[in-house]
């Protein structure tokens, strides 16, 4: 049985309530079944907290497999995650290969998985520069449909994603690259695009009603102000 260590780093400000965590935890369950030792850390609570941040950096150095789970922000990684990766790469600069591996899970709010492509490029290039073996990036659109539910609770809509994460676990525990068909399965739509967009649109309006801000949804508070 393997006693290799996996570190799941959840890099969403929504933390325990994030889609990133739900996806990451599902992968972790598959890795645990295969005998890997698990650790999960949240990035955001470590921001501005030196002790937590140095613990996090130390944990990254100690794991055999690092899994980054994050939401797509403005077509790429959230700023604090880029900052962390830059620190990791700078600390390793010039050091010999470590034999560690890296995989990533990214989800985005738009229905099309294709939005995540630059994020997959970035984690791969980070892996090259920081001496991790890159095992792949699993991306999915329609992240909003999962919300803070576990994948088990999210039901049939996430059947492709569950299967893709289960299959990916079998490769990752052996330090093998995630095959292209598994990446494609992860990116399959959870529901028809028109339906996702319809539900999301309704969701924004419903939230605004709750806050009494329906009449302000299209407000332009900075129109005609300085610089405008």
């Amino acid at each position: 049985m393997s006693s290799r260590k996996v570190l799941l780093l959840v890099a969403s400000p929504r933390g325990a309530a994030s889609t990133s965590r739900s996806l990451g935890e599902h992968l972790l369950a598959g890795l645990e079944e295969r005998g890997m030792a698990l650790k999960t850390l949240q990035l955001y609570p470590a921001l501005g907290d030196e002790r937590k941040m140095s613990e996090l950096l130390a944990a990254i150095e100690l794991c055999d497999l690092l899994v980054l789970a994050f939401p797509l922000y403005v077509d790429q990684l959230p700023a604090p995650l880029i900052d962390l990766l830059r620190q990791v790469a700078e600390r390793r600069n010039g050091q010999a290969r470590t034999g560690q591996a890296l995989a990533a899970i990214v989800n985005c709010g738009f229905p099309e998985t294709a939005h995540c492509r630059p994020a997959a490029d970035i984690v791969r290039l980070f892996a090259v520069q920081a001496d991790f073996r890159f095992l792949g990036c699993l991306a999915t659109g329609m992240g909003g449909a999962i919300g803070n539910r576990s994948l088990a609770k999210a039901g049939a809509i996430v059947r492709h994603q569950r299967k893709a994460l289960d299959r990916a676990a079998a490769f990752l525990c052996e330090s093998r690259e995630i095959p292209a068909d598994v990446v494609a399965l992860m990116g399959r739509a959870m529901m028809p695009r028109w339906f996702y967009n319809f539900v999301a649109d309704r969701g924004w309006k419903k939230a605004a009603r709750k806050y009494g801000s329906s009449a302000k949804l299209f407000d332009r508070p900075y129109a005609g102000s300085e610089g405008a």
Binding site: V74, L125, A207, K210, Y211, S213, L217, G227, A228
Partner: protein, 194 residues
Amino acid sequence: MKAVFFKGSPPAGRDPLSNRAAAAVSAVLKSRGWETKAFPLAAMDIKACRGCFTCWTRTPGHCVIRDDDQESILRAWAGAERIILLTPVTFGGYAPELKKALDRVLPILLPFFIRIQGETHHPQRYPLPRRLLAVGTLKQEDAESEGAFRRLVGRNALNMGDVEATTLVFSGDASLAEMERRLGQEPFFGAEAS
């Protein structure tokens, strides 16, 4: 012409190439006489986006974080016709100095969905005919990182409402004069002010 210049160079002294590129952009902007708001991002207090979407629902157009420097950026973006992003190319993407500000521009979008080039995107809260210039710097030439950077800028341009985008990458020991010359030739800047 109203422009916003996101200076995403790391803190002074850490990256002379990026600082030189920033100086070159500033010089060209000055020669055009544009009304520019330049933001030295490394020196600004910009907290991380909380991912709460309050800016779309509870207080449309306003970020929930009010005790930092981001509001001045939102104000400037609302009326800008030219957006300039400058950053060291970092793993094929943007450095955190630039990205921390971009993560917080969600209030300039509307929550609803529109279709652009067959994909889903958000409408602009302040629609204007904008153009985007992204200036990246790379200490050594690196075709892979540059390619990833260009693709990323292309995606950002779609998300800004399918705006016309120009990407320039300076690498190695490009001099200030050379950078100014190359920037000055870009149609993005139009002709020099007389």
